[in-house]
Symmetry: C2
Subunit: 275 residues, 2 copies
């Protein structure tokens, strides 16, 4: 999916919602455990319920891999189902991969060619040759970890370098010479809004994938105040708040309700910034 | 596997060789493509041929995942085969994972419980709560990326911090408060021997998993000069140089020959440092 296609989706749906698909076998409604592939049945129902409000889905590989080969099969089925039924929705494999060049190339082949997702989250620690193999695939995206939303982000990402920059700022500076805003997005946590402003100074145009709104305490208003651009430039992710809104047979309807609420709040933000 | 068990294996075999299992479907001998699981058949043959000389195997997940669910199945079979037939050999899943706490916990469950490996390589960028879930499993290990052997390691790992340390040194400093040398190893590339000496100043006892000897240009002598401790403290990895020593039907014998050569060189090093 190209940048322009993503921007038009956002305009059409008045939404920049990314729904995180984190199907935990211990948390999904009990009646689904009778299905041949409980993880897939869960994701499929969530997708059908939330597709009118979402512009992206972000399945996290850990939740699928926790169930071994069956889980990976459920991942493949989920991606295929979204691709066939909702071809305009971006699919981000949240895999946080990154290895030496020839090995990263295999991960890129796996995610882009074998599974057919649009984007992969990549960890920056190993530098340019670990990220490069994910670049240059037409219509495909790298979503590079810059500033994550977890407490441990303070350990290294916030470290001050000799030249005064913090490590996450250097990751942005260095990596923006590797690829432009047509194929590179960044993960930037929502937990401290003003940091999103610092990110925007370095990458004024790139889309930011923002976790941490809701369950982790970030506010949508702050994210938009500091991060929104004229093309929106944001994908705000919600996982638990939507997919586990109910643990009963009404889980899909409850997910739809939560997704719609977020879409409505996003629509209001888009309108207020359009003025 | 405990640290003491690993040390006795090294003494018994006079070897600190880790064989990297990177089974690329495009590189394995053509006659194996007729097997039901070519990747598994390849790994099984390599393992049987090299087990007398190796104290660890390091299957890299990228090579298995590139073949989707079938590849992951081959990974599971390979781990099971080693576990059953060579229970004294350490199995390191080279996965370079790392995610927010609850998600890393799922990766830990997948690798330690579902697949049953002894160790997982983990990326440090997301900090303590991304690494913690891999710790505290009896007999299991985290192998944390500190200084990798690829050119891109210069981009961030070598950056100078405000206090004068380089980032990889800070990763060692910070993470050694998370776990001791009984459950934490570090990936330290061999391409510049004196850097291994800098690593040793910070983590004098931890085992180092050292890639980059051979194909990538590092020297075994340098690695030992700068990195060997009284408990050895090293696992030196070789992948391509062993597993692709021949691409013909004699691939397993050729792998054995190369592994034996490395074991002999390692044995000489162990003897010279014992004096």
């Amino acid at each position: 999916m190209t940048r322009q296609e993503l921007i038009s989706q956002i305009r059409q749906k008045e939404s920049f919602l990314c729904v995180g698909l984190d199907p935990d076998i211990k948390k999904i409604p009990a009646h689904l455990l009778r299905e041949p592939s409980p993880l897939y049945s869960f994701c499929k129902a969530i997708v059908d319920a939330t597709a009118p409000y979402a512009v992206a889905y972000k399945p996290n590989l850990a939740f699928f891999e926790a169930e071994g080969t069956e889980g990976l099969e459920a991942f493949g089925l989920t991606v295929e189902y979204i691709r066939l039924n909702y071809p305009d929705i971006l699919i981000i494999a949240d895999a946080k991969r990154g290895d030496i060049g020839n090995t990263s190339a295999l991960y890129a082949r796996s995610f882009f060619n074998h599974f057919g997702v649009d984007a992969v989250t990549v960890a920056p620690y190993m530098g340019i040759d670990s990220v490069n193999p994910f670049l240059g695939h037409e219509g495909k995206w790298v979503v590079l970890l810059a500033l994550t939303s977890n407490p441990g982000s303070a350990d290294f990402q916030m470290l001050r370098l000799a030249d005064g920059k913090r490590l996450f700022e250097q990751v942005l500076e260095t990596s923006k010479s590797w690829a432009g805003p047509d194929e590179m997005m960044y993960v930037v946590g929502a937990t401290r809004g003003e940091l999103i402003g610092d990110v925007r100074k370095i990458v004024p145009k790139n889309f930011l994938l923002v976790p941490g709104v809701g369950a982790q305490g970030g506010s949508l208003e702050d994210v938009c105040r500091y991060g929104m651009t004229k093309d929106c430039g944001l994908l705000v992710n919600s996982s638990r708040g939507i997919i586990y809104a109910s643990s009963d047979t009404d889980f899909a309807e409850s997910a739809a309700t939560e997704a719609r609420k977020l879409r409505d709040a996003m629509s209001a933000q888009l309108q207020s910034y359009r003025k």
